[in-house]
Each structure stands twice: as structure tokens, then as C-alpha cells.
Subunit: 68 residues, 6 copies
């Protein structure tokens, strides 16, 4: 599937922290860590596990730009 | 300023495409290109220019995870 | 590709309205029209056209619930 | 109240799963299930209950388009 | 209509800037200016005009917290 | 740091409710309460505490406009 989202970053799952309904998934993308908050169900349905491949997908309209 | 957003990625502005009210800013972060859609006004106020430093800021709740 | 987004709605492109940098794409999903604002580039790269198949993908954290 | 959000989908609450602070609410819209992640407080304040009417509200800028 | 969004801020339209497809609407809420990017169509359909009443609606999951 | 986000609202932390992984932070901005859902980790890392200064940061593309 191709996506309209401008940012589709391929990486490897580094850590998964499950909460009551929401999980935080850390994905390593070429040395950059991207954190995603997704449902626990999604973690299970996608079969996410540490060391597995995963993509971090981000719409460009969700990105804020900062300058020091 | 420190931010609650889990993803604050430091990089360099690679390209700026202004539209009627919205601009697309491409930021190079260690070889990964992050695209942000922001207002034209923000581009001006932040003084964004190709080659300048910039951060791409993304809340973890905005990130979707994909698996092939 | 499987996605963590809880809402992946399959439909047919009904209308595409391109702006300066942003396009509005209307997708018919079983009689419901979903409007997506995406970049003009995405419209081109995905080869979107009226009558073509497309999915509307929405993270559950982006959905607001309303009650009359 | 009229909303700027392009997507206001009327349906019926199908299921409510409360977590520690966040709840997942499934709304049936003409046979399509839309999942919303909202605060537990919102569930209570809106008086959401299975079988009750509810609207799923989604800004067009939050919708990603996918093509197989 | 009651909304799950935690932030429903009542104010007055201060300025409307229409672009090709996207408009920026500035709403004055007790002396604070909130800027919303919405479709031009929404501006027309809601009958937004400078001096008119309007609400700025923001899901709590969209808010980033910053500390100096 | 300057941000592209059009809405950067300075206020004071009024209440912090921690859940399993997600916290709700209420910020008082000139008498208006803004609720943010952020990770528990962010609450700790930012050193957020009731009575402390904090900014609520919101991209204009995340704001929905409503009219009665």
C-alpha cells in the first residue's frame, strides 16, 4: 500500500511499553528514535516485537518546525 | 524550551515550497527527510531558509505504525 | 502493509480538488463521504483519480465524539 | 452547533472500553466501525452508552489516503 | 451538540485569511488569539465573518506542553 | 526555541492527572483552562508541577471551528 503521508520512515522496533489501553512503541530509524503512541490492540494485531521491522508514518500536517 | 513531544528531531532545511497559505518544508535529519506543512507566515517568522538549522517536532500520538 | 491506525476505510475516489499546495480528496465509503486534505504531490504520486479505489486512514486519537 | 470539520459521521455506540485515563469508543456508522480514543471523563460527560447515538468527527487534515 | 474534545473555547472571529483551498481563521478568546486552519468551504458553510461568534475546538491529544 | 505552531499559550499548571501511560495536564491561560494529554514520561522530564509555568502549544491545523 502506498500512502499520502509524506513521512514513511522504515526502522526497527527498539522498545514496547504497554499501558492500560495505550502503548508506546520506540522505533529506531537510522539511529533516530521515533516514539509512537498506539493502542495495545494494534501492537498485538501488527505482531510488533523488539527487533522486528516497522515503519513510522507521519502526515506532514502533524509536524511542527522549531528554530533555536 | 523543553517540549512534551517525544520526537524532537534536529536537522537542516533542505527545501521550502510556499503555496497560497501553506508551505511545505523539507528537513534533513541525518539523511532522513522529514516534510512539514506549516503556514507561510511561520516560514517567515522563523526565518527558515535552505541550509539553516531546524527541528521537526512530532507528538507520539500523531505517529502511525506500519508493518509489511 | 498493516497499519496501527484503527480506522482503515476502503472506498472509491469521488472528487479531487487541487489547491496551490493542498488538495481535498473525497472518498466514498459505502455511501459515506470522507474528505481528506493531502498534498498535491501525494495525489500525483498515488495516481489518485475519480473512480479509483482508495483507503481513508484515520488514527483513533484524531476522532472527536459528539452527542446531540 | 455546526463544525468546520468536513467529516461528521452519525452513528450508534457499539462498544466502550475504558482504560486508566483513555477510553476507546467504537461507533457504528452505516455498517462501518469508527474507533475513537477519548478521555474517560468525556465518556462520562457525554453520557455515552452502548446503543446510544453518537457522531464521529474528523478533520480532513487528519485523514491519510492509501492506495494498494 | 456536546463534544468529547476537552477544549471548547468560545470567542469572536478577529480575522479570516483565505488561501487557494485553506483559510486561516483567528478567533479572539478572552484576549487570547487562537488560529485555526480550515477549508475555505468551511468558512463559507459556517458563515464565518469578522465579529461573529465562534468556538475553537481542540482535542487534548493535539496539545503539546512546553516549559522554558 | 521559536515554533511554527501558531498557538503558543503561556499559563500555569492547574492540575496533573497521571494514568497508566498517559497524563492529563490542565493549564490555566488567563482564566481559560487548556487540557493536554501527554505521556507520563513527559510530565516527569519537563518537571511539571501544579503552580509551575507551562505553555500549551497547538498547531492551527488541529483546531476545529464551531458555530452555534
Amino acid at each position: 500500500m502506498k500512502l499520502s503521508a509524506r513521512n514513511v520512515l522504515e526502522g526497527t522496533v527498539k522498545e514496547i511499553k504497554k499501558g492500560a489501553t495505550t502503548a508506546h512503541v520506540l522505533i529506531d530509524v537510522k539511529g533516530i528514535t521515533i516514539t509512537a503512541s498506539i493502542t495495545n490492540e494494534s501492537v498485538d494485531e501488527l505482531g510488533l516485537h523488539v527487533g522486528g521491522k516497522a515503519k513510522a508514518i507521519i502526515k506532514s500536517s502533524e509536524v511542527i518546525v522549531g528554530v533555536d
